[in-house]
Symmetry: C2
Subunit: 563 residues, 2 copies
Amino acid sequence: MRQSKMFIPTQREVPASAESLSHQLMLKSGMIKQLARGVYTYLPITKLVLQNIENIVREEMNRIDGNEVQMPVLAPRELWEESGRWEKYGKELMRLKDRHDRDFLLGPTHEEVVVDLVRDELRSYKRLPLTIYQIQTKFRDELRPRFGLLRGREFIMKDAYSFHIDQESLSKTYQDMYNAYEKIFTRFGLDFRAVEADSGAIGGSHTHEFMALSEIGEDTIVFSENSDYAANIEKAACLRPEEKSDDAEKDIEKVDTPNVKSCSELADLLGIDLKETTKTMVVNVDGELKMIVLRGDHELNTIKLKTFFNSNTEPELADESDILEIFNAQPGSLGPVNSKIPVYIDYQVEVMKNFPVGANEDNYHFINVNLKDVEVEDVGDFRFITEGEMAPDGSGPVKFREGIEVGQVFELGTEYSEALNLTVLNERGQSVPVLMGCYGIGISRALSAIIEKYHDENGIMWPKSVTPFDVHIVMMNVKKEEFVNPAEELYDSLSKQYKVLLDDRDERAGVKFNDSDLIGIPVRVVVGRGIKDGVVEVKFRNSEKTHDVKLEDLESFINEHYN
Amino acid sequence: MRQSKMFIPTQREVPASAESLSHQLMLKSGMIKQLARGVYTYLPITKLVLQNIENIVREEMNRIDGNEVQMPVLAPRELWEESGRWEKYGKELMRLKDRHDRDFLLGPTHEEVVVDLVRDELRSYKRLPLTIYQIQTKFRDELRPRFGLLRGREFIMKDAYSFHIDQESLSKTYQDMYNAYEKIFTRFGLDFRAVEADSGAIGGSHTHEFMALSEIGEDTIVFSENSDYAANIEKAACLRPEEKSDDAEKDIEKVDTPNVKSCSELADLLGIDLKETTKTMVVNVDGELKMIVLRGDHELNTIKLKTFFNSNTEPELADESDILEIFNAQPGSLGPVNSKIPVYIDYQVEVMKNFPVGANEDNYHFINVNLKDVEVEDVGDFRFITEGEMAPDGSGPVKFREGIEVGQVFELGTEYSEALNLTVLNERGQSVPVLMGCYGIGISRALSAIIEKYHDENGIMWPKSVTPFDVHIVMMNVKKEEFVNPAEELYDSLSKQYKVLLDDRDERAGVKFNDSDLIGIPVRVVVGRGIKDGVVEVKFRNSEKTHDVKLEDLESFINEHYN
């Protein structure tokens, strides 16, 4: 294609709000333009790359007998009420009414729709297994859209759904998908790791996330260097300590702690370590308040709370006003002794002795508290793991790495087929619910993850598998025939084998080279002064070296070095 | 692909609500499934055909320097307020609020968004002309979705937008697009005609619709057999008659017309022809009532009224209650004599003499009315042309043909660039508004139009250019090796050259042949009893004849006959 006809609005400056490198580079290289927060237009370069990404995904999905379909963006409320998610999905679900005042939503995921699609058609186990997928625009009304395409409100997903008569068949397809995902992300050129994950709003039990390792990473991956163990930090389990300290239990005592509002202030005042303190939080679990007690140096993991309490929505910290009303004390002064609400103790607190807690009265704490002083409703794993702790498989200490979630595979089981009445007749003629799996890839996220990996300070460096063009021919002077004619001839001849972009713009050399680096096409061929001797300059985007190559040798030179 | 793994839910019966042939055939052949009124899932066969259609469109758009992008579905209210269309677009615009209570819409067309996209980037005429297009899901909340994909609420469009410094450049791109559309619809295998059209809600002046001629047709095409003249009936102009009759004007007279409510009743009572009567209608033009008088045998064209009055919305007939309140008479008793609201007379009434009109009093008419008896505000062309009338270019009588609109090209001029402040500096350094064109193709409509043309009583008959598969191998018995092995070998060898579907399902022969006819793949190869002698049966979908072909001759036989 001719650059003079293309819309590639490269930028020198990008807004400070562009936090991630991929976001900055996509703006600088004229790949995206924001229309609203988290809503972007994909410009021509992006569209070309997305087509390459989509084709790789399509090939690997078709290879494992995926059926490509396109489900609608709009879905009727009634269908999502059958699964209970019309209410449960919360504010991230974009809802609207049609002209007849009927409720619809913009699909963030398509379990309900795909079950509705097949439930009238699948009658016998003989039609199973079946895998259906689509590559489609999805909607999620993120509270804080950010990082460009990494967390948008309108984005492209590949979502696949599989249907099975038994667990063996589901496990096989789950493994096929897992393997296909490994192929896909390898073809994208990503460093990635499949990790255990929380199943979030989708439901289901067995699930892995595919995380592209990166500098920025929205997610933290917890892994063991001594085993295959890897998990999203949201999910990574903390072991339950087996031994309590041998200390003798002392008697509980109320002490003055004027103006102490945090664990570190308390540790300073008492002359103890932060990890010898405790922190007490009140959370709202589907409208009921619960008290959670952690060690002072640990962080609350509300996703684990959701799993623990099996709640509809992720628990949040209670409002300060509610706390004041119930306890007549500040959130920083709470504790589990004589609590008015049920108390849940983290595993790590379970093994502590003689610890301090808030007295549910401002400026006072109890010290030398022991479990016998507290009415404990239950104990559990309520916190984030910390780097260096023992991995849950006992293989050694965990390390952390930042990552971008680019895919996830789930075994859904019968959750949706039961809710939506998807059954088939089995071999014995009995009606049984169908087992399901679901499998997502963030197409526009994967694009960002690729850029997060393939760039330098001058711009993007596309890997061959997804590059928008193979060769960038830069014409140094568009007004002189001695440059134009050979460049045009090269454009024609190289286009037979490669995707070629011809920079035929009437711009200064500096502008052309800057743009060329930004856009990041793997092979650059400069038609400059050497052309009078039949020589062009070739430079590969991933190297500093330039090569003077004779015109007649150019094609074989590229064939040899670009692969 | 293997049919046993594919989701092609063919149907024997289709609901009576499927009015059009394409809708019935797409349901029967398992191509679509309705999720809500006018909202469909595209099943695997449809997806394959759509990809072929989209690739043809993409090739022809790229050939004329189109830049493919993807604009968002969501657009913010503020942008559409700049153009005035947030209000003006009416109930067909699907609107919603995000979690922050901000207003958004689901794009039915993208003039505002594309102008916003380029207005910060285009500064100089040197960057023009520029053409941007996308193939994308669009939304229009149709009052009466029908005919399957022909009039849906969620559908796929190719929409292109071009930007120009002057009319000459706009005219050139308009013509390039016109020519590209001719190539595209020819490649689809459609019989089509480019016709003059009304520009509807998009605005602009110069415009053509591309109509695929068909049996059902949502639109009527008016054309002359003696010239190139062709127009949508909504637009087709009626000539203003030049001569009045020579009759002497008589004196107006009020007569009893008991229970007469229609023109035909009046004609019967007075013993005259229907075309010697008149009909009077009251219409609501942006909130103001106007009286329109047509000849009794003519039909009101409200789209012409919208153009005539330059109104924001298409005028509608006034409510009966409003008429009763103002005239104290039924809608069937109205007339222009002593009217309380402005009177507009159709050209054909302008040349009438001594005609009857309602007396604005039930059971009475005036007869022998002439224009001197009426206070006429204006005369104009307010009606639909009728078959056999003189074409507006004077070339002869017009004929009618049914058609499906598959594309439209518009010269928009500066309407949107002025509203949204899209200017560039011209050669003299002056800031001038950019001229625009816009160009649509209904991708999912074109698919329907192709099926409306290519089918017989047994199913679809895909033209080669868009067919989902070239060859359908039907294995007659999937349990016997003597059928399975050669069929599998054929599948492997033919797949090197063709897109092949292998019917490897354990079904009866009758089911397989019925499905094969429904799905409509051009070449069918049956691996049946003849295989023991190394012979398969070949049948082309568009012919009744079967051919016994030896295995070793099969490939060359197909190469020769399938093209």
